[in-house]
C-alpha cells in the first residue's frame, strides 16, 4: 500500500511543481486563456454573429477553441523540461516515469479546466447559450479535459524527449483527438440543448478515450523521455 501512496506522492510532487511554476509565471493564465477567448471572438466575426447561428455552433466552436489552446498549454508544459537540463535531472532523479507523466498531465488538466470555465463564461455572455443539463456539461467537460491533457502530455513528452521542433506537436496530437472533439461537441450539444442527441452515450465514449490516453501515456512515458 505504501508503494501506491509513494507513487501518488511523486505524481503530486510533479503536479505541484508545474502548477507552482504556472502560478509564478502566469503563462497559461496570462496568455493561453486570453487566446482562447480571442478564438471565440474570431468565430463570432467569421460567422457574422447572429445569436441563432452562434448558439447552434456554440459547442463545436467551444471545443475547437479548447483544442487549439490545449496545444499551447501542452507545448508550455513540455518546454519546461527543455529549458535548462531539467529533463536529464528528471531522468537521474529516479522518479518513476509514470508518476512523472501523471503529475504533468494533472497540471495540464487543471489548467484546461480553468480554461474551460472561462470559455464557458464566454459562451454564456458572447453567444447567449443556455445550459439545459449542467451535470452532463460538467461530466463531459471533465472527461474530455482528462483525454486532452493525457494525450497532450504523451506527445509533449515525445517532443521534449527527442528535442524535435514543437511544430510536430499539432500534427501528432490533433488527429488522435478527433474522436474526443466529436464526442465532446456532441455531449455539449445535448447539454446546451442545441441538438437532439444522447449526450450521455457520448460521455461514455469520452470516458473510454480518457482511460486509454491516461493508461497508454503512463506506460509509454519512460520510453518517450529516454533518447
Amino acid at each position: 500500500m505504501s508503494e501506491v501512496r509513494r507513487f501518488l506522492g511523486d505524481a503530486g510532487l510533479v503536479a505541484a511543481r508545474d502548477l507552482r511554476i504556472e502560478f509564478r509565471s502566469r503563462v497559461v493564465v496570462g496568455q493561453v486563456v486570453p487566446f482562447a477567448l480571442l478564438v471565440l471572438v474570431l468565430f463570432g466575426f467569421a460567422l457574422d454573429a447572429d445569436h441563432r447561428t452562434l448558439r447552434m455552433f456554440a459547442s463545436g466552436l467551444f471545443w475547437v477553441a479548447v483544442l487549439l489552446s490545449a496545444l499551447l498549454a501542452v507545448h508550455r508544459s513540455a518546454a519546461l523540461e527543455l529549458s535548462d537540463g531539467t529533463l536529464d535531472a528528471l531522468r537521474m532523479s529516479g522518479l518513476p516515469p509514470a508518476a512523472l507523466f501523471l503529475g504533468k498531465a494533472t497540471a495540464v488538466f487543471v489548467q484546461l479546466m480553468l480554461l474551460e470555465v472561462v470559455l464557458l463564461g464566454g459562451l454564456l455572455v458572447l453567444y447567449g447559450v443556455q445550459v439545459v443539463d449542467p451535470m452532463l456539461l460538467l461530466v463531459s467537460g471533465l472527461l474530455a479535459g482528462v483525454a486532452v491533457a493525457a494525450a497532450g502530455t504523451l506527445y509533449g513528452a515525445l517532443a521534449s524527449g527527442l528535442g524535435v521542433r514543437e511544430t510536430l506537436l499539432p500534427i501528432l496530437l490533433l488527429p488522435v483527438l478527433a474522436p474526443v472533439l466529436i464526442g465532446a461537441t456532441r455531449a455539449f450539444d445535448d447539454a446546451l440543448g442545441s441538438v437532439a442527441v444522447d449526450g450521455w452515450a457520448w460521455t461514455g465514449l469520452l470516458a473510454v478515450a480518457a482511460l486509454i490516453a491516461t493508461v497508454v501515456g503512463a506506460l509509454a512515458h519512460g520510453v518517450l523521455i529516454e533518447d
Binding site: 537540463g85 531522468r91 537521474m92 529516479g94
Partner: protein, 235 residues
C-alpha cells in the same frame, strides 16, 4: 552515510566503451577503472569525449559497444537503475527558472525520495554548505548569476548524498570563492566515502583535487597516471 561501495569491486569499469553523439563516435573505445573512494581528474581538449564519458557513467547515454559497469550495474543491459545513486553536474543547471532556489533544491530532494522533513533539513544545510546567502534562497533562479546558479545546482545534488559524483567542468565560470566551494564539496564527498570524477580542459584548476590524472583525446584514454599509488601529475 554515502553508499560506500563493496571493497574490491571497482565503482566504474569501462572496457572498450564506444558511445555516439548523434552519428559521431564521441567515445571510440575507452578503458577505465576507478576504485571506490578515488578522485579522478579527466583532462582533454574540447570535443575529446569528456562530457560523453561522464554521461555514459551516469546511464544517460546508450553504449554502442564494449562493457560499462557502474556501481555494480551493467549499463549495457539496463541504464536506469544506477542513476539514483549518481550525481551528474553538467553544463546545464537542471533548475526551473521560475521557481526559487529553495523550491528547486527542495523539489530535487523530494524527487530523490526524501521525506518532507528530511528534504527541508538537507536543503537548508546543502544551501548553507554551498555558501549561498539567505537573501538569495527566496529569489527565482532566473535572477541569479551563473556562479550562484552553479552553486544552487550543486546543492540540488548534495542533498541526494550520491555514491558517485560526476562533475563536468565544475569550476567553469566560478570566482575564487566558488572554486573553493567546489573543492570543499569534493573533499566532503571523499570523506563520505563517495567516488569523484571531475573533468576540466584546464588541468591547473583541478590539479589540487587529487593525484590521478586521466587524459582523454579523440574519444579514447591516451594517458593515465594510475591509481593513488602513482606519482604526481605528469604535465
Amino acid at each position: 552515510m554515502a553508499g560506500r561501495y563493496r571493497d574490491g569491486v571497482p565503482v566504474v569499469e569501462l572496457r572498450g566503451a564506444v558511445a555516439l553523439l548523434g552519428n559521431f563516435p564521441a567515445l571510440a573505445g575507452v578503458d577505465l577503472t576507478v576504485e571506490s573512494g578515488e578522485v579522478v581528474l579527466l583532462r582533454g581538449p574540447n570535443g575529446a569525449g569528456k562530457t560523453t564519458l561522464l554521461r555514459l557513467c551516469a546511464g544517460l547515454v546508450r553504449p554502442e559497444s564494449g562493457s560499462v559497469e557502474v556501481l555494480g550495474h551493467d549499463l549495457v543491459r539496463e541504464r536506469r537503475s544506477v542513476r539514483r545513486r549518481v550525481a551528474l553536474l553538467g553544463h546545464a543547471t537542471g533548475l526551473y527558472d521560475d521557481l526559487t532556489v529553495n523550491q528547486n533544491v527542495r523539489f530535487w530532494a523530494r524527487a530523490a525520495g526524501l521525506s518532507a522533513v528530511e528534504a527541508t533539513e538537507r536543503t537548508a544545510s546543502a544551501l548553507l554548505r554551498m555558501g549561498l546567502s539567505e537573501r538569495l534562497l527566496g529569489q527565482p533562479v532566473h535572477t541569479l548569476s551563473a556562479g550562484q546558479r552553479r552553486r544552487a545546482s550543486l546543492a540540488a545534488l548534495v542533498v541526494r548524498r550520491p555514491g558517485l559524483w560526476l562533475l563536468d567542468e565544475p569550476h567553469a565560470g566560478l570566482d575564487q570563492s566558488g572554486r573553493d566551494v567546489v573543492d570543499g564539496l569534493v573533499g566532503d564527498a571523499v570523506a563520505a566515502g563517495a567516488t569523484v570524477l571531475v573533468s576540466s580542459h584546464e588541468l591547473e584548476r583541478v590539479a589540487g583535487l587529487g593525484p590521478r590524472v586521466v587524459t582523454i583525446s579523440g574519444g579514447v584514454v591516451v594517458d593515465d597516471t594510475g591509481p593513488a599509488v602513482g606519482g604526481g601529475s605528469r604535465v
